[in-house]
């Protein structure tokens, strides 16, 4: 274990990891070390590049706060989030597909009654969202917890406003006995992922744009069903084919109907997968 060189170091680290008591942690760390070293070897990583990597990860960490998850954003723009979601949600046809959580989910969103105005003053045109939570056989899922969040007409989530001490365009409600839910919000627009941090700099340096197509976030859970984390996208959005975080799925795109009186209406049903017994 002394005098390790570029050929022997990987096996030395793996040999030490062999002592890991937890079998899964051993598997994860062994694979991680192999791939991390393979990356460094394949690219002949230089010391200044290693240093830049350390500084980049440190900056990502320092950008993380209770309301901003820059590592999630990094995972998103590297496609790791979409890969992980895809591997873990191989569902029966007909169930609503999952997509990425994104960096702006918060656990303490306000609980509001079904039908409530979740906008609570967020800037934007009014929008009515209705739908039904059901099982694959069409049975209503009553009392499902529907967590909702989205950005406003400024392209920002509530948690991105430094001086805002309440939640806007975000809330949790329960589906009714018929599985239906209804909420009022503002019209979501395309927006750029935050470019004021190191991940935004990386996106810029790799020539990628930061834009996401307009979408609303939903996280739906009910006893006996697999939890669902997903988006609803707007039909004909210009960024559907170049989403900065690779999250678009055909089945999650819906018409957002302008009623001609300044209000948009969106109808979307969520089909949950029953939890395996």
């Amino acid at each position: 274990m002394r005098n390790l060189n570029q050929e022997t170091i990987t096996q030395a680290v793996i040999a030490r990891l062999a002592q890991t008591p937890d079998a899964r942690l051993k598997e994860l760390m062994t694979s991680l070390v192999q791939h991390l070293h393979a990356f460094a070897r394949e690219t002949r990583l230089t010391e200044p590049e290693w240093q830049m990597g350390i500084e980049f990860l440190t900056a990502v960490g320092h950008k993380c706060s209770p309301t901003r998850q820059e590592f999630v954003l990094l995972s998103d723009v590297l496609g790791l989030s979409t890969l992980t979601v895809a591997m873990n949600h191989d569902k029966p046809a007909g169930c609503t597909e999952s997509t990425v959580l994104g960096p702006f989910y918060v656990a303490d969103a306000p609980r509001l009654p079904n039908g409530a105005d979740l906008a609570r003053g967020a800037p934007g045109q009014p929008c009515l969202v209705q739908g039904r939570v059901c099982a694959l056989d069409g049975a209503a899922v009553a009392g499902a917890e529907v967590e909702f969040w989205q950005s406003d007409a400024e392209g920002r989530y509530d948690v991105q406003y430094e001086d805002l001490d309440e939640h806007r365009a975000r809330g949790v409600l329960s589906s009714g006995s018929d599985g239906r839910f209804e909420l009022r919000t503002v019209l979501a627009l395309p927006y750029p992922v935050p470019v004021d941090g190191p991940v935004g700099q990386l996106l810029g340096a790799t020539g990628g744009h930061p834009w996401r197509p307009a979408h609303m976030h939903f996280k739906i859970s009910a006893p006996g069903y697999e939890p669902l984390t997903t988006h609803v996208y707007r039909q004909d959005d210009p960024y559907l084919d170049s989403d900065a975080v690779y999250g678009v799925r055909h089945s999650l795109i819906a018409p957002w109907v302008d009623d001609g009186q300044g209000m948009h209406r969106i109808e979307f049903d969520f089909v949950l997968q029953r939890r395996a017994l």
Copy 2:
């Protein structure tokens, strides 16, 4: 670029990276994404594991400060630092070998005269370190900048003391016209890498011990020569074969001689590699 699944996501990300203006950044990011995705695919990474990874990296970032580099420590215990150093310092035989920088280097160490007491009150037995900076042909390298840092008898570096506002057992001096340098310090002892952060928790969970063999850090630079970052280790140290950061090299081990009067003496010469013209 919509409806990406676990098979197609990797190529989609790589296709987007193809726009990267800087060829080397494109190469690095493309390789990184391939290996990151291969890791996730090979392990069938679950969403809770992904979440744990996000939280771990965030905690590592939050532990980083101007005087504590937890990402460097992570790179060290994963063997990435040793791999990177080994790939980048393939030197002619006879040149002093490089090893890891470690997380406790700071750029603003005090400049002190050759022969000075660098301990400046650090706890520990007195120790005299002498040596010579020279070229491969034996020619003295005069005026080389010799940066030195080490932990004290408590196993801590100066920057690990929250209330200490000056540097101890750390300093920068210049080699004399004969290439020689001399410094007084305290006897370095084996110590554990910091286990009060997420990397320490990871080490614990993987069954590895956190100990490093006793060593002194040197970073030596002189015009016309490749900079050298290295350690000097103590002969017969119990951790030479199980260094937590994989940094030991035979050629960097020296006798640390007890003079029988409470003082240790260490003599070590540093042979620099001439910079390619």
